[in-house]
């Protein structure tokens, strides 16, 4: 195995081990030794990649941000109608966070930062709902900015309420269903299957 590839695998193993430890015992309580044991990595290999537990946390936050940016780009480039894009993108983000311990750790660590601004979801949802209104997908009396604020608050709240992340994507679907019942025009969602059971 080429050296660079091996290094990448070690880095990834450390991130997964750290994320799993953070998930189990919390960031503060997670010991470097437990992360090393879990990743089957030597101290030397660890310090080749990271200077400390804090540096691993930093990398998890960065990987999370990069992963979500890629997901957003992917959905925005699909060329779906804006309302389907808003629903599909947020629900898929929730589904990924549910399933991927590394993303989950990155999200939780991002939220712990002072002044965390929520990764710009509020701005993105606002933009997509304004585009939905322009495309005639919303009822004429619906205020896209208000709808965006309510959906964003619901998504943030659903994430805060849950004891863990299981079922997060279903809760996101439910929020969109209830909100769109009042503000989306009949048949406006280009991809109604997005609101099907997850």
């Amino acid at each position: 195995m080429p050296q660079q590839r091996r290094a990448q695998l070690t880095r990834r193993a450390i991130l997964i081990a750290a994320a799993t430890e953070f998930d189990l015992v919390g960031y503060e309580a997670a010991a470097l030794n437990a992360i090393l044991r879990r990743s089957r990595t030597t101290k030397g290999a660890f310090y080749f990649h990271f200077s400390s537990k804090e540096a691993v946390a930093e990398a998890l936050v960065e990987d999370y941000a990069a992963g979500l940016s890629a997901l957003r780009r992917e959905w925005l480039e699909r060329g779906l109608d804006p309302l389907s894009t808003a629903v599909g993108l947020t629900v898929e983000a929730a589904r990924r966070v549910e399933r991927d311990v590394v993303l989950r750790a990155g999200l939780l660590l991002s939220c712990r930062r002072p002044g965390a601004v929520g990764d710009g979801w509020d701005g993105l949802i606002d933009r997509l709902l304004h585009e939905s209104a322009e495309a005639g997908q919303l009822e004429p009396d619906a205020d896209p900015a208000a709808v965006a604020r309510v959906v964003h608050a619901g998504l943030v709240g659903a994430h805060k309420i849950g004891a863990d992340f299981s079922g997060l994507s279903e809760r996101f679907v439910e929020i969109w269903r209830v909100v769109l019942a009042g503000v989306a025009r009949e048949g406006a969602l280009g991809r109604p299957e997005i609101l099907g059971r997850t």
Copy 2:
């Protein structure tokens, strides 16, 4: 002034001073000396009421819980229709938290506790929405449990997103407006003025 009354005023002055300090610099950073200065209380008087800063925090949490219980009882006893009760009660709770630094500190300190369950708002909103459905206030195809979960998530999220609590009651009104647009029957809200501008 009778001694008991004076003791009550001192206790209240300490709670207001502590809540204000917590609001300004955060609970961890708040110094007992700063609380004493702000409350114009001697150390002796302080220790007559509280054993420590932690004990003040405990009292703020208890006063917050008691204050909200009283507010709930008050609204439930008014005998309004259940949907107006749900809207009016949550919006008034937000308005009080906005205006009252002691309640605000109690709420923030409650949220910091591990296993904080959100004061039972989820159960209360769920119950009132089921009663609204039974009273024919919701569209027949609206699922009251789902609507309750979405509203509760929105209220929690609105509180988490805001940098401070200003405008919280307006955000609550907005959530109810957007959600009820799709699920409440036309003219079902007995007190529509509750959704007027706050």
